[in-house]
């Protein structure tokens, strides 16, 4: 005998966060890992456009460089840099977890704060170094 689900509008992941499930650092960093991953995957279009423009002609590359050097282009590149550095740092955190270590509440929070701090600092270092 099959049982009818109690309700068809039960909250599904990730939409349970907020009204039904208190946001925590760990869950927020987890969803941010996915969001930055999606953003980086979308951004690969621009990396493909970048090398394709270089292979096409100096004029085509000049247009790409102009767009990348514009204010909007620079803001997108800074955001993309942060997404990359965050996904890289948190990815290393995930690879460490894959060894079965670091799951205690205290260490999960410590590595989480470390990832947030490192992502901001490294993004700043990269952009300062780019202008030196």
């Amino acid at each position: 005998m099959s049982v009818k689900p109690a309700s068809s509008n039960r909250p599904l992941s990730p939409f349970m966060i907020g009204p039904y499930y208190k946001p925590q650092l760990t869950s927020m960093l987890s969803i941010t890992h996915r969001l930055t991953g999606l953003a980086l995957a979308f951004g690969t279009i621009f990396i493909a456009a970048w090398v394709t423009a270089a292979a096409t002609s100096p004029e085509a590359y000049g247009q790409f460089a102009w767009a990348a050097n514009s204010i909007i282009g620079k803001l997108l590149l800074i955001a993309y840099t942060w997404a990359l550095v965050y996904h890289l740092c948190n990815g290393i955190r995930h690879l460490f977890w894959d060894t079965g270590r670091g799951f205690a509440l205290k260490s999960a929070y410590a590595s989480g704060y470390a990832v947030v701090g490192a992502s901001v600092v490294l993004t700043a270092v990269i952009w300062v170094a780019a202008y030196l």
């Binding site: 992941s13 990730p14 996915r34 991953g37 999606l38 980086l40 995957a41 690969t44 279009i45 990396i47 493909a48 090398v51 394709t52 270089a54 292979a55 100096p58 590359y61 000049g62 460089a65 990348a68 050097n69 840099t81 990359l84 890289l88 990815g91 290393i92 995930h94 690879l95 894959d98 990269i126 170094a129 780019a130």
Partner: protein
């Protein structure tokens, strides 16, 4: 005690009939991307690559061309695997799920092919 048949255990493919292939390749490409993406960002900071002549000269170096091809292979593969997981987790409708995965995989592999071809064209060019 396991309820799984000896044949099922020997195959090790689990209930999804897919084994650990997807999971494993996601980790392999992730590990490869640590040094490759660090090198890539370092190069972007180190050289004024928005200048066409500098960019072409940079890719002309064999080691740079090979590293870029490896970086693009790992990056587009890793992106395709990751986006697939997100779609599988959040898209309920089977038809929409299948079409979404097809479209994103075709797109990412097309962009990856374009990026690698562009590197090779510059590397082999005069």
């Amino acid at each position: 005690m396991s309820l799984r048949s000896p044949l099922s255990q020997a195959r090790g493919l689990g209930s999804a009939k897919d084994g650990v292939g997807h999971w494993w390749m996601q980790r392999m490409t992730a590990i490869a991307l640590i040094p490759l993406s660090l090198w890539f960002v370092f190069s972007l900071v180190r050289f004024p690559l928005l200048d066409h002549a500098t960019m072409v000269a940079w890719i002309h170096a064999p080691l740079v061309a090979v590293a870029l091809v490896l970086f693009f292979l790992a990056m587009f593969y890793h992106a395709a695997l990751g986006v697939q997981v997100v779609i599988e987790d959040y898209v309920g409708n089977e038809g929409v799920k299948l079409v979404s995965i097809l479209v994103t995989k075709f797109a990412l592999f097309a962009f990856g092919a374009a990026a690698i071809f562009a590197v090779l064209k510059i590397a082999f060019g005069a």
